[in-house]
Protein backbone atom coordinates (compact mmCIF):
# COMPACT_ATOMS: atom_id res chain seq x y z
CA UNK A 1 0.00 0.00 0.00
CA UNK A 2 1.33 3.41 -0.97
CA UNK A 3 -0.88 6.48 -1.15
CA UNK A 4 0.02 10.05 -1.79
CA UNK A 5 -1.64 13.30 -0.85
CA UNK A 6 -1.15 16.70 -2.40
CA UNK A 7 -2.07 19.62 -0.16
CA UNK A 8 -2.27 22.99 -1.89
CA UNK A 9 -3.38 26.54 -1.32
CA UNK A 10 -1.95 30.02 -1.30
CA UNK A 11 0.80 31.21 0.94
CA UNK A 12 -0.52 31.92 4.42
CA UNK A 13 -3.14 29.19 4.42
CA UNK A 14 -0.89 26.93 6.47
CA UNK A 15 -0.51 24.26 3.82
CA UNK A 16 2.98 23.15 4.81
CA UNK A 17 1.89 22.90 8.43
CA UNK A 18 -1.16 20.82 7.53
CA UNK A 19 1.06 18.51 5.51
CA UNK A 20 3.47 18.21 8.41
CA UNK A 21 0.66 17.26 10.75
CA UNK A 22 -0.70 14.73 8.29
CA UNK A 23 2.75 13.20 7.88
CA UNK A 24 3.27 13.08 11.62
CA UNK A 25 -0.07 11.33 12.05
CA UNK A 26 1.12 8.60 9.70
CA UNK A 27 4.40 8.31 11.55
CA UNK A 28 2.55 7.97 14.84
CA UNK A 29 0.52 5.26 13.17
CA UNK A 30 3.72 3.38 12.48
CA UNK A 31 3.76 3.92 8.74
CA UNK A 32 6.53 4.97 6.45
CA UNK A 33 5.89 8.48 5.30
CA UNK A 34 7.51 11.35 3.46
CA UNK A 35 6.65 15.02 3.19
CA UNK A 36 7.95 17.18 0.39
CA UNK A 37 7.29 20.86 -0.28
CA UNK A 38 6.95 22.57 -3.66
CA UNK A 39 7.17 26.26 -4.15
CA UNK A 40 6.32 26.22 -7.82
CA UNK A 41 8.39 27.67 -10.62
CA UNK A 42 7.93 31.21 -9.39
CA UNK A 43 9.85 32.08 -6.29
CA UNK A 44 7.47 34.50 -4.68
CA UNK A 45 3.71 34.54 -4.30
CA UNK A 46 1.55 32.03 -6.06
CA UNK A 47 0.46 28.74 -4.66
CA UNK A 48 2.24 26.59 -2.17
CA UNK A 49 1.85 22.87 -2.06
CA UNK A 50 3.31 19.87 -0.42
CA UNK A 51 3.08 16.19 -0.95
CA UNK A 52 2.72 13.48 1.67
CA UNK A 53 3.30 9.87 0.73
CA UNK A 54 2.42 7.07 3.10
CA UNK A 55 3.52 3.52 2.58
CA UNK A 56 3.82 0.16 4.26
CA UNK A 57 7.27 -0.26 2.80
CA UNK A 58 9.87 2.43 2.17
CA UNK A 59 8.29 5.28 0.19
CA UNK A 60 9.16 4.85 -3.48
CA UNK A 61 9.16 8.46 -4.61
CA UNK A 62 8.57 11.50 -2.48
CA UNK A 63 7.28 13.57 -5.36
CA UNK A 64 4.97 11.88 -7.79
CA UNK A 65 3.36 12.94 -11.01
CA UNK A 66 -0.18 12.17 -9.81
CA UNK A 67 -1.96 11.89 -6.50
CA UNK A 68 -4.45 9.64 -4.76
CA UNK A 69 -5.84 12.55 -2.81
CA UNK A 70 -5.69 16.27 -3.44
CA UNK A 71 -6.66 18.64 -0.67
CA UNK A 72 -7.04 22.09 -2.17
CA UNK A 73 -7.83 25.26 -0.31
CA UNK A 74 -8.16 27.80 -3.10
CA UNK A 75 -9.33 28.04 -6.69
CA UNK A 76 -5.93 28.15 -8.36
CA UNK A 77 -4.91 24.99 -6.58
CA UNK A 78 -8.13 23.30 -7.57
CA UNK A 79 -7.62 24.23 -11.20
CA UNK A 80 -4.07 22.97 -11.19
CA UNK A 81 -4.37 19.80 -9.18
CA UNK A 82 -7.68 18.51 -10.36
CA UNK A 83 -5.69 17.46 -13.41
CA UNK A 84 -3.15 15.57 -11.34
CA UNK A 85 -5.50 13.35 -9.36
CA UNK A 86 -5.27 9.70 -10.39
CA UNK A 87 -8.26 8.16 -12.05
CA UNK A 88 -10.34 6.90 -9.15
CA UNK A 89 -8.72 9.36 -6.78
CA UNK A 90 -10.36 12.07 -4.75
CA UNK A 91 -10.12 15.84 -4.69
CA UNK A 92 -11.23 17.56 -1.51
CA UNK A 93 -11.84 21.24 -1.93
CA UNK A 94 -12.44 24.23 0.30
CA UNK A 95 -15.79 25.31 -1.07
CA UNK A 96 -15.46 28.65 0.65
CA UNK A 97 -12.95 29.67 -2.01
CA UNK A 98 -13.41 27.04 -4.68
CA UNK A 99 -16.34 27.12 -7.07
CA UNK A 100 -18.28 23.90 -7.31
CA UNK A 101 -17.33 22.28 -10.60
CA UNK A 102 -16.47 18.78 -11.75
CA UNK A 103 -14.22 19.01 -14.78
CA UNK A 104 -13.41 15.28 -14.86
CA UNK A 105 -15.62 12.24 -14.59
CA UNK A 106 -13.11 9.72 -13.34
CA UNK A 107 -12.42 11.13 -9.91
CA UNK A 108 -14.39 11.76 -6.74
CA UNK A 109 -15.15 15.26 -5.51
CA UNK A 110 -15.65 16.41 -1.94
CA UNK A 111 -16.59 20.03 -1.37
CA UNK A 112 -16.79 21.50 2.11
CA UNK A 113 -16.98 25.13 3.19
CA UNK A 114 -13.88 24.77 5.29
CA UNK A 115 -13.20 28.48 5.47
CA UNK A 116 -16.67 29.20 6.74
CA UNK A 117 -16.42 26.47 9.33
CA UNK A 118 -13.08 27.84 10.49
CA UNK A 119 -14.44 31.36 10.69
CA UNK A 120 -17.35 30.07 12.69
CA UNK A 121 -14.98 28.46 15.18
CA UNK A 122 -13.08 31.66 15.56
CA UNK A 123 -10.47 32.19 12.85
CA UNK A 124 -10.00 31.56 9.16
CA UNK A 125 -6.44 30.65 10.12
CA UNK A 126 -7.53 27.16 11.13
CA UNK A 127 -9.03 26.37 7.72
CA UNK A 128 -6.11 24.02 7.29
CA UNK A 129 -7.10 22.06 10.41
CA UNK A 130 -10.67 21.86 9.28
CA UNK A 131 -9.46 20.51 5.98
CA UNK A 132 -7.48 17.78 7.72
CA UNK A 133 -10.61 16.81 9.59
CA UNK A 134 -12.51 16.53 6.33
CA UNK A 135 -9.71 14.44 4.91
CA UNK A 136 -9.84 12.07 7.89
CA UNK A 137 -13.53 11.69 7.37
CA UNK A 138 -13.15 10.92 3.69
CA UNK A 139 -10.04 8.81 3.74
CA UNK A 140 -9.80 5.58 5.71
CA UNK A 141 -6.11 5.56 6.19
CA UNK A 142 -6.07 8.96 7.85
CA UNK A 143 -6.77 8.55 11.54
CA UNK A 144 -8.56 11.18 13.63
CA UNK A 145 -6.78 10.06 16.75
CA UNK A 146 -3.30 10.20 15.28
CA UNK A 147 -4.11 13.51 13.65
CA UNK A 148 -5.04 14.94 17.03
CA UNK A 149 -1.86 13.58 18.55
CA UNK A 150 0.11 14.96 15.63
CA UNK A 151 -1.35 18.42 16.15
CA UNK A 152 -0.21 18.27 19.75
CA UNK A 153 3.24 17.04 18.74
CA UNK A 154 3.75 19.66 16.06
CA UNK A 155 2.46 22.61 18.06
CA UNK A 156 4.65 21.50 20.93
CA UNK A 157 5.16 23.31 24.19
CA UNK A 158 5.70 26.67 22.63
CA UNK A 159 2.40 26.92 20.86
CA UNK A 160 0.40 24.96 23.38
CA UNK A 161 -2.10 27.77 23.77
CA UNK A 162 -3.32 27.25 20.22
CA UNK A 163 -3.97 23.55 20.76
CA UNK A 164 -7.62 23.75 21.81
CA UNK A 165 -8.65 25.88 18.85
CA UNK A 166 -6.81 23.64 16.44
CA UNK A 167 -8.28 20.49 17.87
CA UNK A 168 -11.71 22.04 17.72
CA UNK A 169 -11.17 22.86 14.07
CA UNK A 170 -9.99 19.36 13.37
CA UNK A 171 -13.04 17.99 15.10
CA UNK A 172 -15.31 20.30 13.18
CA UNK A 173 -13.73 19.16 9.94
CA UNK A 174 -14.32 15.53 10.79
CA UNK A 175 -18.03 16.12 11.03
CA UNK A 176 -18.35 18.73 8.33
CA UNK A 177 -19.78 16.41 5.77
CA UNK A 178 -22.49 15.05 7.99
Amino acid sequence: MEKNFILAGFGGQGILLAGTILANSFMLGGKNVTWYPCYGAEMRGGTVNCEVVVSDTEVSSVHKQDADFALVLNQQSFDKFVQRVKAGGTIIANATLVALSKPRDDIKYVFAKMGDIANAIGSSKVTNMVSLGVLADVCDIVSREYLAKAVELVLGEKKKQFLPLNLKALEAGCSALV
Partner: protein, 361 residues
Protein backbone atom coordinates in the same frame (compact mmCIF):
# COMPACT_ATOMS: atom_id res chain seq x y z
CA UNK B 1 14.67 11.57 22.48
CA UNK B 2 17.61 10.05 20.71
CA UNK B 3 16.08 6.63 20.14
CA UNK B 4 12.66 8.03 19.25
CA UNK B 5 11.51 8.55 15.71
CA UNK B 6 10.91 12.13 14.70
CA UNK B 7 9.58 13.53 11.46
CA UNK B 8 12.40 15.75 10.29
CA UNK B 9 13.72 17.48 7.20
CA UNK B 10 16.88 16.12 5.64
CA UNK B 11 18.64 19.45 6.09
CA UNK B 12 17.80 19.62 9.79
CA UNK B 13 18.72 15.98 10.19
CA UNK B 14 22.16 16.66 8.80
CA UNK B 15 22.57 19.72 11.02
CA UNK B 16 21.49 17.95 14.20
CA UNK B 17 23.59 14.90 13.36
CA UNK B 18 26.59 17.17 12.95
CA UNK B 19 25.94 18.50 16.43
CA UNK B 20 25.62 14.98 17.80
CA UNK B 21 28.84 14.00 16.05
CA UNK B 22 30.55 16.75 17.99
CA UNK B 23 30.91 19.38 15.30
CA UNK B 24 32.61 22.27 17.07
CA UNK B 25 32.07 24.96 14.53
CA UNK B 26 30.11 25.47 11.33
CA UNK B 27 31.25 27.79 8.54
CA UNK B 28 28.88 28.54 5.72
CA UNK B 29 27.19 30.84 3.27
CA UNK B 30 23.53 30.50 2.29
CA UNK B 31 22.38 28.77 -0.84
CA UNK B 32 19.13 27.02 -1.57
CA UNK B 33 18.27 24.16 -1.06
CA UNK B 34 20.51 23.73 1.97
CA UNK B 35 20.34 27.08 3.73
CA UNK B 36 18.38 25.46 6.55
CA UNK B 37 21.50 23.62 7.66
CA UNK B 38 23.18 26.89 8.49
CA UNK B 39 20.00 28.40 9.87
CA UNK B 40 19.49 25.49 12.22
CA UNK B 41 23.07 25.58 13.40
CA UNK B 42 23.04 29.34 13.89
CA UNK B 43 20.30 28.76 16.44
CA UNK B 44 21.69 25.65 18.10
CA UNK B 45 25.45 26.06 18.18
CA UNK B 46 25.49 29.17 20.39
CA UNK B 47 23.29 27.37 22.93
CA UNK B 48 25.96 24.72 23.17
CA UNK B 49 28.78 27.20 23.34
CA UNK B 50 29.98 26.07 19.95
CA UNK B 51 30.93 28.06 16.91
CA UNK B 52 28.95 29.38 13.98
CA UNK B 53 30.50 31.60 11.33
CA UNK B 54 28.62 33.46 8.61
CA UNK B 55 31.38 33.29 6.06
CA UNK B 56 31.54 35.93 3.33
CA UNK B 57 31.60 33.23 0.65
CA UNK B 58 31.99 29.52 0.12
CA UNK B 59 35.60 30.09 -0.83
CA UNK B 60 36.17 31.65 2.56
CA UNK B 61 34.07 29.02 4.33
CA UNK B 62 36.04 26.06 3.00
CA UNK B 63 39.34 27.73 3.83
CA UNK B 64 38.10 28.43 7.34
CA UNK B 65 37.17 24.78 7.60
CA UNK B 66 40.60 23.68 6.44
CA UNK B 67 42.31 26.02 8.90
CA UNK B 68 40.16 24.80 11.76
CA UNK B 69 40.54 21.15 10.79
CA UNK B 70 44.32 21.56 10.86
CA UNK B 71 44.01 22.11 14.59
CA UNK B 72 42.15 18.82 14.92
CA UNK B 73 38.78 20.50 15.37
CA UNK B 74 35.62 18.81 14.13
CA UNK B 75 34.19 21.24 11.64
CA UNK B 76 32.07 21.33 8.55
CA UNK B 77 30.62 23.47 5.83
CA UNK B 78 27.61 22.88 3.65
CA UNK B 79 26.59 24.28 0.32
CA UNK B 80 25.14 23.42 -3.04
CA UNK B 81 26.41 22.72 -6.55
CA UNK B 82 27.59 25.96 -8.16
CA UNK B 83 28.92 27.15 -4.84
CA UNK B 84 30.70 23.88 -4.13
CA UNK B 85 32.56 24.54 -7.38
CA UNK B 86 34.23 27.42 -5.57
CA UNK B 87 35.73 25.01 -3.06
CA UNK B 88 37.75 22.93 -5.48
CA UNK B 89 41.12 24.54 -4.90
CA UNK B 90 40.83 24.24 -1.14
CA UNK B 91 39.63 20.65 -1.36
CA UNK B 92 42.69 19.74 -3.37
CA UNK B 93 44.82 21.41 -0.69
CA UNK B 94 42.88 19.67 2.08
CA UNK B 95 43.52 16.24 0.59
CA UNK B 96 47.19 16.96 0.35
CA UNK B 97 47.23 18.57 3.82
CA UNK B 98 45.48 15.46 5.11
CA UNK B 99 43.04 17.40 7.23
CA UNK B 100 39.62 16.02 8.19
CA UNK B 101 37.22 18.28 6.36
CA UNK B 102 33.49 17.55 6.07
CA UNK B 103 31.58 19.17 3.22
CA UNK B 104 27.87 18.69 2.66
CA UNK B 105 26.60 19.26 -0.87
CA UNK B 106 22.82 19.34 -1.16
CA UNK B 107 22.70 19.32 -4.94
CA UNK B 108 20.61 21.57 -7.12
CA UNK B 109 20.74 21.73 -10.90
CA UNK B 110 23.49 22.89 -13.20
CA UNK B 111 25.34 23.84 -15.21
CA UNK B 112 25.69 27.43 -14.06
CA UNK B 113 23.20 28.91 -11.67
CA UNK B 114 20.82 25.97 -11.91
CA UNK B 115 18.13 27.52 -9.73
CA UNK B 116 16.77 24.91 -7.39
CA UNK B 117 15.61 22.24 -9.78
CA UNK B 118 16.42 18.93 -8.12
CA UNK B 119 19.28 17.03 -9.74
CA UNK B 120 22.21 14.70 -9.20
CA UNK B 121 24.56 16.52 -11.52
CA UNK B 122 27.48 16.84 -9.12
CA UNK B 123 28.57 13.23 -9.21
CA UNK B 124 31.63 14.09 -11.28
CA UNK B 125 32.26 17.23 -9.25
CA UNK B 126 32.44 15.19 -6.06
CA UNK B 127 34.10 12.05 -7.39
CA UNK B 128 36.58 13.51 -9.88
CA UNK B 129 37.22 16.73 -8.05
CA UNK B 130 38.08 19.68 -10.17
CA UNK B 131 40.92 20.85 -8.06
CA UNK B 132 44.37 20.29 -9.46
CA UNK B 133 46.48 17.20 -9.40
CA UNK B 134 45.82 13.72 -8.11
CA UNK B 135 43.68 13.42 -5.03
CA UNK B 136 40.67 11.54 -3.87
CA UNK B 137 37.82 12.52 -1.62
CA UNK B 138 35.53 10.11 0.20
CA UNK B 139 31.99 10.64 -1.08
CA UNK B 140 28.94 9.31 0.79
CA UNK B 141 25.50 9.45 -0.82
CA UNK B 142 22.52 9.07 1.52
CA UNK B 143 19.15 7.95 0.18
CA UNK B 144 16.85 8.65 3.12
CA UNK B 145 16.63 11.14 5.94
CA UNK B 146 17.75 8.38 8.28
CA UNK B 147 20.84 7.95 6.19
CA UNK B 148 21.43 11.70 6.25
CA UNK B 149 21.92 11.21 9.96
CA UNK B 150 23.87 7.98 9.74
CA UNK B 151 26.26 9.20 7.08
CA UNK B 152 26.81 12.55 8.72
CA UNK B 153 28.06 10.62 11.73
CA UNK B 154 30.12 8.49 9.41
CA UNK B 155 31.48 11.48 7.48
CA UNK B 156 32.95 13.00 10.63
CA UNK B 157 34.39 9.67 11.63
CA UNK B 158 35.96 8.74 8.31
CA UNK B 159 37.37 12.21 7.81
CA UNK B 160 39.29 11.92 11.05
CA UNK B 161 40.10 8.25 10.84
CA UNK B 162 41.77 8.71 7.47
CA UNK B 163 42.63 12.40 7.65
CA UNK B 164 40.85 12.84 4.37
CA UNK B 165 38.08 15.18 3.24
CA UNK B 166 34.62 13.65 3.05
CA UNK B 167 31.74 14.96 0.96
CA UNK B 168 28.21 14.07 1.98
CA UNK B 169 26.45 14.23 -1.38
CA UNK B 170 22.75 14.75 -0.81
CA UNK B 171 20.21 16.28 -3.14
CA UNK B 172 17.51 18.90 -2.92
CA UNK B 173 14.81 16.29 -2.54
CA UNK B 174 16.53 14.81 0.46
CA UNK B 175 17.35 18.18 1.95
CA UNK B 176 13.79 19.45 1.68
CA UNK B 177 11.76 16.34 2.49
CA UNK B 178 10.64 15.21 5.92
CA UNK B 179 10.69 11.58 6.93
CA UNK B 180 10.65 9.81 10.26
CA UNK B 181 14.16 9.18 11.48
CA UNK B 182 15.95 8.37 14.64
CA UNK B 183 19.13 10.06 15.81
CA UNK B 184 20.32 7.39 18.20
CA UNK B 185 23.80 7.98 19.45
CA UNK B 186 26.75 8.76 17.24
CA UNK B 187 28.04 5.19 16.95
CA UNK B 188 31.64 6.02 16.15
CA UNK B 189 34.54 6.24 18.56
CA UNK B 190 36.63 9.34 18.99
CA UNK B 191 39.74 9.41 16.84
CA UNK B 192 42.97 10.52 18.42
CA UNK B 193 44.30 13.43 16.41
CA UNK B 194 47.01 14.48 18.80
CA UNK B 195 49.83 13.12 16.68
CA UNK B 196 49.30 15.59 13.91
CA UNK B 197 46.93 18.35 15.00
CA UNK B 198 48.31 21.85 15.48
CA UNK B 199 47.92 22.88 19.08
CA UNK B 200 50.72 25.39 19.58
CA UNK B 201 54.28 24.23 19.93
CA UNK B 202 54.02 23.44 23.61
CA UNK B 203 57.01 21.44 24.81
CA UNK B 204 57.92 20.52 21.28
CA UNK B 205 59.13 22.10 18.07
CA UNK B 206 56.72 23.89 15.83
CA UNK B 207 55.12 21.77 13.17
CA UNK B 208 53.39 22.67 9.98
CA UNK B 209 50.60 21.39 7.82
CA UNK B 210 51.10 22.13 4.16
CA UNK B 211 50.25 20.67 0.82
CA UNK B 212 53.46 20.32 -1.04
CA UNK B 213 56.73 18.72 -0.07
CA UNK B 214 59.64 20.99 -0.84
CA UNK B 215 61.59 18.45 -2.73
CA UNK B 216 60.39 16.71 -5.85
CA UNK B 217 61.12 13.20 -4.67
CA UNK B 218 59.38 13.75 -1.36
CA UNK B 219 56.36 15.16 -3.12
CA UNK B 220 56.14 12.13 -5.39
CA UNK B 221 56.36 9.94 -2.31
CA UNK B 222 53.64 11.95 -0.65
CA UNK B 223 51.28 11.40 -3.56
CA UNK B 224 52.02 7.70 -3.58
CA UNK B 225 51.33 7.60 0.14
CA UNK B 226 48.04 9.39 -0.35
CA UNK B 227 47.04 6.88 -2.97
CA UNK B 228 48.11 3.99 -0.80
CA UNK B 229 45.95 5.41 1.94
CA UNK B 230 43.07 5.54 -0.46
CA UNK B 231 43.63 1.92 -1.37
CA UNK B 232 43.17 1.08 2.29
CA UNK B 233 40.05 3.21 2.35
CA UNK B 234 38.81 1.35 -0.71
CA UNK B 235 39.52 -1.94 0.98
CA UNK B 236 37.87 -1.03 4.29
CA UNK B 237 35.17 1.45 3.53
CA UNK B 238 33.71 0.72 0.11
CA UNK B 239 30.04 0.43 0.80
CA UNK B 240 27.01 -0.48 -1.27
CA UNK B 241 23.60 -1.97 -0.97
CA UNK B 242 22.33 -4.87 -3.06
CA UNK B 243 18.77 -6.03 -3.40
CA UNK B 244 17.66 -9.19 -5.05
CA UNK B 245 20.76 -9.42 -7.17
CA UNK B 246 21.23 -13.12 -6.66
CA UNK B 247 18.91 -14.33 -9.37
CA UNK B 248 18.70 -11.04 -11.17
CA UNK B 249 19.25 -10.77 -14.89
CA UNK B 250 19.14 -7.04 -14.92
CA UNK B 251 20.39 -4.79 -12.15
CA UNK B 252 19.03 -1.32 -11.63
CA UNK B 253 21.69 0.98 -10.26
CA UNK B 254 21.18 4.35 -8.65
CA UNK B 255 22.69 6.52 -5.98
CA UNK B 256 21.25 8.89 -3.40
CA UNK B 257 17.54 9.40 -3.14
CA UNK B 258 16.94 7.82 -6.55
CA UNK B 259 17.59 4.55 -4.75
CA UNK B 260 14.04 4.52 -3.38
CA UNK B 261 12.65 4.80 -6.89
CA UNK B 262 14.62 1.87 -8.23
CA UNK B 263 13.69 -0.24 -5.23
CA UNK B 264 10.03 0.29 -6.02
CA UNK B 265 10.65 -0.24 -9.72
CA UNK B 266 12.29 -3.57 -8.94
CA UNK B 267 9.18 -4.63 -7.01
CA UNK B 268 7.01 -3.72 -9.96
CA UNK B 269 9.30 -5.43 -12.45
CA UNK B 270 9.44 -8.58 -10.32
CA UNK B 271 5.67 -8.59 -10.21
CA UNK B 272 5.73 -8.42 -13.97
CA UNK B 273 8.04 -11.41 -14.05
CA UNK B 274 11.25 -9.55 -14.82
CA UNK B 275 14.19 -10.79 -12.81
CA UNK B 276 15.31 -7.37 -11.70
CA UNK B 277 17.72 -6.61 -8.91
CA UNK B 278 19.25 -3.46 -7.50
CA UNK B 279 22.69 -2.16 -6.76
CA UNK B 280 23.31 1.07 -4.99
CA UNK B 281 26.74 2.49 -4.28
CA UNK B 282 26.77 4.19 -0.90
CA UNK B 283 30.35 5.32 -1.20
CA UNK B 284 30.58 6.94 -4.61
CA UNK B 285 34.26 7.28 -3.89
CA UNK B 286 35.68 4.71 -3.26
CA UNK B 287 33.38 3.32 -5.92
CA UNK B 288 32.36 -0.35 -5.64
CA UNK B 289 34.06 -1.16 -8.94
CA UNK B 290 35.07 -4.64 -7.84
CA UNK B 291 31.58 -5.75 -6.86
CA UNK B 292 30.06 -4.42 -10.07
CA UNK B 293 32.73 -6.21 -12.03
CA UNK B 294 31.84 -9.46 -10.26
CA UNK B 295 28.15 -9.03 -10.96
CA UNK B 296 28.91 -8.26 -14.60
CA UNK B 297 31.09 -11.32 -14.83
CA UNK B 298 28.01 -13.26 -13.76
CA UNK B 299 26.38 -11.94 -16.91
CA UNK B 300 24.06 -9.53 -15.22
CA UNK B 301 23.12 -6.45 -17.24
CA UNK B 302 22.97 -3.01 -15.66
CA UNK B 303 20.61 -0.10 -16.00
CA UNK B 304 21.91 3.07 -14.39
CA UNK B 305 19.14 5.40 -13.28
CA UNK B 306 20.24 8.90 -12.43
CA UNK B 307 19.29 12.58 -12.55
CA UNK B 308 22.15 13.77 -14.75
CA UNK B 309 23.53 13.06 -18.19
CA UNK B 310 25.10 9.74 -17.25
CA UNK B 311 27.84 10.54 -14.82
CA UNK B 312 27.73 7.42 -12.65
CA UNK B 313 26.84 5.48 -15.79
CA UNK B 314 30.40 5.94 -16.96
CA UNK B 315 31.86 4.49 -13.79
CA UNK B 316 29.52 1.51 -13.92
CA UNK B 317 30.45 0.91 -17.51
CA UNK B 318 34.11 1.24 -16.60
CA UNK B 319 33.65 -1.41 -13.93
CA UNK B 320 31.70 -3.73 -16.22
CA UNK B 321 34.45 -3.69 -18.84
CA UNK B 322 32.23 -4.94 -21.60
CA UNK B 323 31.28 -8.09 -19.71
CA UNK B 324 27.58 -7.26 -19.85
CA UNK B 325 25.30 -4.56 -21.12
CA UNK B 326 24.98 -1.21 -19.38
CA UNK B 327 22.13 1.16 -20.18
CA UNK B 328 21.20 4.56 -18.90
CA UNK B 329 17.83 5.89 -17.83
CA UNK B 330 18.15 9.51 -16.92
CA UNK B 331 16.91 13.05 -16.90
CA UNK B 332 19.35 15.89 -16.36
CA UNK B 333 17.32 17.62 -13.67
CA UNK B 334 13.81 18.46 -12.52
CA UNK B 335 11.05 16.00 -11.80
CA UNK B 336 12.58 12.85 -10.31
CA UNK B 337 12.25 9.84 -12.62
CA UNK B 338 9.10 8.10 -11.49
CA UNK B 339 8.75 4.41 -10.78
CA UNK B 340 6.55 4.10 -13.85
CA UNK B 341 9.07 5.84 -16.09
CA UNK B 342 11.83 3.62 -14.80
CA UNK B 343 9.79 0.46 -15.25
CA UNK B 344 8.78 1.30 -18.77
CA UNK B 345 12.33 2.30 -19.72
CA UNK B 346 13.69 -0.95 -18.35
CA UNK B 347 11.09 -2.84 -20.33
CA UNK B 348 12.12 -1.02 -23.46
CA UNK B 349 15.73 -1.84 -22.81
CA UNK B 350 14.86 -5.50 -22.24
CA UNK B 351 13.00 -5.66 -25.50
CA UNK B 352 15.72 -4.11 -27.53
CA UNK B 353 18.62 -5.49 -25.53
CA UNK B 354 20.44 -2.51 -26.82
CA UNK B 355 22.88 -2.19 -23.97
CA UNK B 356 25.61 0.28 -23.34
CA UNK B 357 23.72 3.15 -24.86
CA UNK B 358 22.00 5.96 -23.22
CA UNK B 359 18.26 6.06 -23.38
CA UNK B 360 17.60 9.53 -22.12
CA UNK B 361 14.03 10.19 -21.25
Amino acid sequence: MSSEKVLIKGNYAIAQAAINAGCQCYFGYPITPQTEIGEYLSAEMPKLGRGYVSAESELAAINMVVGAAATGAKVMTSSSSCAVALMQEALSYACSDEVPVVVVNVMRAGPGLGYVYPAQGDYNQAVYGGGNGDYKIIVLAPATVQECIDYTYKAFYLARKYRNPVILLADGLLGQMMEPACFGENPYPEVDVSSWALTGAKGRDGKAIYSCARDEKAHIQKIHDLFKKFEIITENETSYEEFETEDAEIILTAFGSMTRNIKAAIRVLREKGVKAGGFRPITLSPFPTKRISELAADGKDFVVVEMNMGQMFKDVKYAVEGKSNVSLVNRPCGEWLSVEEIVSSVEKILNKKEGAYASCI
